[in-house]
Amino acid sequence: MHIPENYLSPVTCAVMGAAMVPVWVHAVKKVKEELPAEKISMIGVGAALSFLGMMFNVPLVGGTTGHAVGGTLIALLFGPNAACIAVSIALLLQAVLFGDGGVLAFGANCFNMAFVLPYLGWAVYRLIVKTASGDKSAGMGRQLLGAAVGSYIGLNAAALCAAVEFGLQPLLFKDAAGLALYCPYDLSIAIPAMMIPHLAVAGLIEAAFTVAVYAFVKKTSPDLIYSPETPQAAPVRKSRVPLFALVAVLTAATPLGLLAAGTAWGEWGTDEIAGVAEGGSALGYTPAGMENGWELSAPMPDYSLEGVGEVLAYILSAVIGVALLIILFKLLSLALAGRNTKRPEV
C-alpha cells in the first residue's frame, strides 16, 4: 500500500500533505495530554514495532506469505493519537531509508496508513466493545472480535483511500493529448485492483496478526494496554469535538484539491502542441536503445526547443552515456573482485 514517488501528481501530494498537518498537530497535542511523560518514549516503541511488524512474513495458504501493517494494533496498544505519530515515523524511515514509499507521497501514505487506518480501526473497535456491553468491561471474546473487525475495516478503508488517490490521477492530470501523466489507471480499474487482494487476503492477515498480538498482551500484561477510561475520562470525551471538526475540515478541503488541480491543468494547456507531437512520435521509438534513446528522440519534435534543445540534449545524453559506462565498469570490476576473493575461501 506504500505509494511510490511520481505515481501521484505533485498537486495531489501537496493536498494530502496539507491535510495531514492538522492531524499531526492534533495528535502531538493530544499525546502530550493523554500520555504521562514517562510514556512518551513509548511512541518510539510503537514506531519500532510498526516497522518491525511489517517485516513479519505471516504464512498464507499455498506457501506464500504476506505482511501486516499493524496500524490498528498500535492504536489498541498505545491509543490512536500515539499510533498516528508512530506509524508516520515508521513510514518516514521507510521512505528515507529504504525508498519504500515516496518522499513526496509521504503525506498521502500517512493519510491512508497513519490517519484513516488507526483512527477508523480504533473507532470500530470502540463501537463493538461499547455496544456489546453497557458496562466497562467487555468480554475477552468481544474485545478480540472488535480488534479483528476494526483492523480488517481499517486496513480496507486505507486501501480504498489509496485506490481513490490512484484512480483520480488519470481523471485530473492529463497532457494535452488526453493521456494520463501519472498513474494511468482510473477508478474503475484502480479500486478493484486494490480492493480485491486487500479484502480477500491482506485484511485477513491484518486481522489475524492484530488478534494474535492483542490476545497475547492482554493475557500477559493487560495493565499496559491503552484505554481512554484509565488516564482521565473527561478530556478524552471532550477531544471528540476537534476530531469531528478535523473531519469536517478535511471533507471541505477535498473540493479544494480538485480546484487546485484544475488551475494546474489550465497552466499546462499552453504547451499543447508539444504534447501532441510527442505522443505521435513516440510510437516510432526503438526499445532496443539505451534508456536515453527515447529521451533523445522526445525533445526533437518539440518546436520550442529546436536548435538549443538538440545541442543540449546531445550534450546531456553524452554525459549520461559516459557516466553509465563508468558505473557499469565499476560494477563489473566489483563483481569480478567479489568472485576472486570468494574463490580462495571455497
Partner: protein, 237 residues
Amino acid sequence: MLPEWMSGADDYTPEKGGGTFAVRTIKSLGAVMSSLRVQRGHEKARAVPAWIKIILLLAGITALSIARSPLVLMGAAALLLGYLCLWPARDIASVLRPALAAAALAAVLFLPAVLVDRALMPNSLRVIAKVALSVIMVNIFNHTTQWNHITAGLRRLHVPGIIVFSIDITLRYIVMLGRLICDLLTSYTMRAVGKKRGSYGSVGGVMGVAFLRGSQLSSETYEAMRCRCFTDDYKGL
C-alpha cells in the same frame, strides 16, 4: 535387552514448510538490521549541513515530479549519474539496486496500460524514469548523511522536539527489538522442526514479548533521562 521401539528403524521425515515463515522473517529482519547498524555511507568531514541537504532533496524531488520536459529529466539524470560515477563501486551498487528495483516494479505496473493504449508509452516511460531518479536521489542523501545529522537537521527545520526524539528512539528500538525478535524466532525454529501449525500463535507471542520488552526499555529510558536532569520538556532536547 533393548525395547522394540528403540531397535527399529526410524522413518521420520519432517513435514515441509514447518517454520519457514520464521526463517524468512529472520532473513528480512537481518537485511534491515545490517543496513541500519552498519551505515556504510561515506559522509565527508566537511559536508553540506544536513538541513540544507534535506531542503535540496525535497526541492529536487518536487522539481523532478513537476517537470514535463524530457530535457529536465535528462539534466537530472546527467547530474546524478555524473556524480554517482565518481563514487566507489560498492556504494554505487547499493544506491542503484533499489532504484532499479523500483523502476522495474513501476514498469510491471504500467505495462498493462501501455499494452492497451500504445499512446500512453511516453508518459509511462517518463514516470518510470522519474521513479528511478527519485529513488537514486533519496539513496544518495541517505548514503552521504549520518542519521544523527538527519535528526539534527530536522530539529533545525523546526520539526517538534517530540517527533525528533521519537525518531531517534525508534531507530534505536528497531535495532534492539529487532535483535530480540531474531533471537526469539531462532529459538522458535529450533524447536518447531516439522511443525506446521501454530504459526499465528507464535507470531502473536513473539510480537507480544517484543512489546513487553519495549515498554520495559522505554520506562528505563525515561528513568535514565530523569536521572540526567530531564524535566519533561521535549523542546530543549
